[in-house]
């Protein structure tokens, strides 16, 4: 693996491990496709958590052993999975009734851009091929708490936490918390509140790499993760 790729993997693990701390025992949680799915690998043994997959599985278990693979059993990322001991199946309409009806405690999703008012863009880039929003637009309005995990800046080094999103939105004013490789930021009625700074970064570095104004929390945690 090249150093860049390795760094990327380390960074993703750091974000996923910090995001895991958002999950409390007893929670029903939907994890988005990609980096959010990785969060499941770091759930602490003491926590009893039910993971929901919007294709109709409440209670995702670990990946199957080769001998256990069932082609009829996948997660929303279309990966083969198992069901947990509490697992139950339902139709797509019922699955989204659970989501839309605010029965999930938490959703952890990926993001391309988040704005100071909690707007989220994570489904399309104009001019690029549009693949579709999948369940993201429903989920952002459903779970009681929406946490976005993403890199703090784009691969070109430009901020992804903006005054206003430039990309077409997934949802308006839907984000509660942003977790990046550099910081944990809450979306409040007064704007963005910097709660934690990651190891290896200073408050100033976080502020400089964030386009939207950041208020620094009185109880700011430095080297928080």
């Amino acid at each position: 693996m090249s150093t860049v790729k390795q760094d990327k993997a380390v960074q993703r693990e750091k974000i996923a491990r910090r995001a895991e701390r958002e999950i409390e025992s007893g929670f029903y949680v939907n994890l988005g496709i990609g980096m959010p799915t990785m969060v499941a690998n770091y759930i602490q043994p003491g926590k009893e958590v039910v993971l929901q997959s919007e294709n109709g599985l409440l209670g995702i278990g670990p990946s199957p052993y080769e001998s256990e693979v069932d082609p009829d059993l996948i997660n929303a990322g279309k990966e083969t999975v198992t069901a947990s001991v509490s697992g139950s199946y339902c139709s797509s309409a019922e699955s989204f009734a659970m989501i839309r009806g605010e029965h999930l405690d938490l959703a952890i999703l990926g993001g391309m851009e988040v704005a100071a008012n909690g707007d989220l863009a994570n489904w399309m880039i104009p001019g690029k091929v549009i693949k579709g929003m999948g369940g993201a637009m429903d989920i952002v309005h459903g779970a009681k708490k929406i946490v976005i995990i993403m890199d703090h800046v784009s691969k070109h080094g430009t901020p992804k936490i903006l005054k206003e999103c430039t990309l077409p939105l997934t949802g308006k004013g839907v984000v509660d918390r942003i977790i990046t490789d550099r910081a944990v930021i809450d979306v409040t009625d007064a704007g963005l509140l910097l709660r934690e700074v990651a190891e290896g970064f200073t408050v100033q570095e976080v502020i400089d790499s964030t386009e939207a104004p950041l208020e620094v929390s009185g109880s700011l945690k430095e080297a928080g993760y």
Binding site: P71, D72, I74, E79, D138, H141
Partner: protein
């Protein structure tokens, strides 16, 4: 009581040029593989297809794309298919992207006699453009209209000749809603059992929604095989 077909081509005979067809499945899981092959053989063109995804390049609904049988696709995620991309860019294929939960509910509403409903999904996004927005308790919702189909194609694990269907695990997905939303619904089933063998307490789609049945053997292709190592 229900029509039991013996060939897949005969089972899809109600699908003609310009038909609207709903197809169950999520990715390649729970798709009526052989009924789709039946449409390929039938050659019916200018179809409007309603399905969460559009197969992959060489399997599932991707075969209808390859054969240029689809004019319009309504779904939520179509990112697994290069031919899809090509046809959209060439202006050969119209796409209506719909949030997945709204798609499921539009189909459910269609089968349940509800013409439209309000949902928060899509408010403030390009999806809501041109649609009615209404506020309830200080929150905005968009009006989404129901979907129905000339023919619905679903896949079940087990069925009896009364059309009662039982699905397996996440192969259920959109199938129950799609079964109810078709004027004619044909179920491809892995196993047809004698009446009484299915437990009435565990039927997912009651037979009233199903008009025809056919038994078939599926390949059940896996899109993303993910396994853990034996300890």
């Amino acid at each position: 009581m229900k029509k039991i077909y013996t060939t897949f081509q005969e089972a899809v005979k109600e699908i003609r040029d310009h038909s609207t067809v709903m197809v169950g499945g999520f990715g390649l899981v729970g798709i009526p593989e052989n009924l789709i092959l039946g449409i390929v053989e039938s050659g019916a063109k200018h179809l409007t297809v309603i399905s969460n995804n559009c197969g992959v390049d060489d399997w599932g609904l991707g075969l209808l794309l390859e054969n240029k049988q689809i004019d319009k696709m309504i779904g939520s995620y179509v990112g697994e298919n290069k031919e899809f991309e090509r046809q959209v860019l060439a202006g050969e294929l119209e796409v209506e992207l719909t949030p997945q939960g709204s798609l499921a509910e539009k189909i459910r509403a269609g089968g349940a006699g509800i013409p439209a409903f309000y949902t928060p999904a899509g408010v403030g996004t390009p999806i809501a453009e041109g649609k009615e927005i209404r506020e309830f308790d200080g929150r905005e919702y968009v009006l989404e209209e129901a979907l129905t189909a000339d023919v619905s194609l679903v896949r079940a694990a087990r069925a009896d000749r009364f059309g009662n269907l039982v699905y397996n695990k996440t192969a259920r997905n959109f199938n129950p809603e799609i079964a109810a939303a078709g004027k004619v619904t044909i179920a491809e089933v892995e196993e047809l059992v004698d009446p009484g063998e299915l437990d009435g307490d565990h039927i997912h789609t009651p037979g009233i929604y199903v008009q025809g049945l056919i038994e078939g053997q599926q390949e059940k292709r896996i899109e993303r095989l993910t396994v853990r190592q034996e300890a």
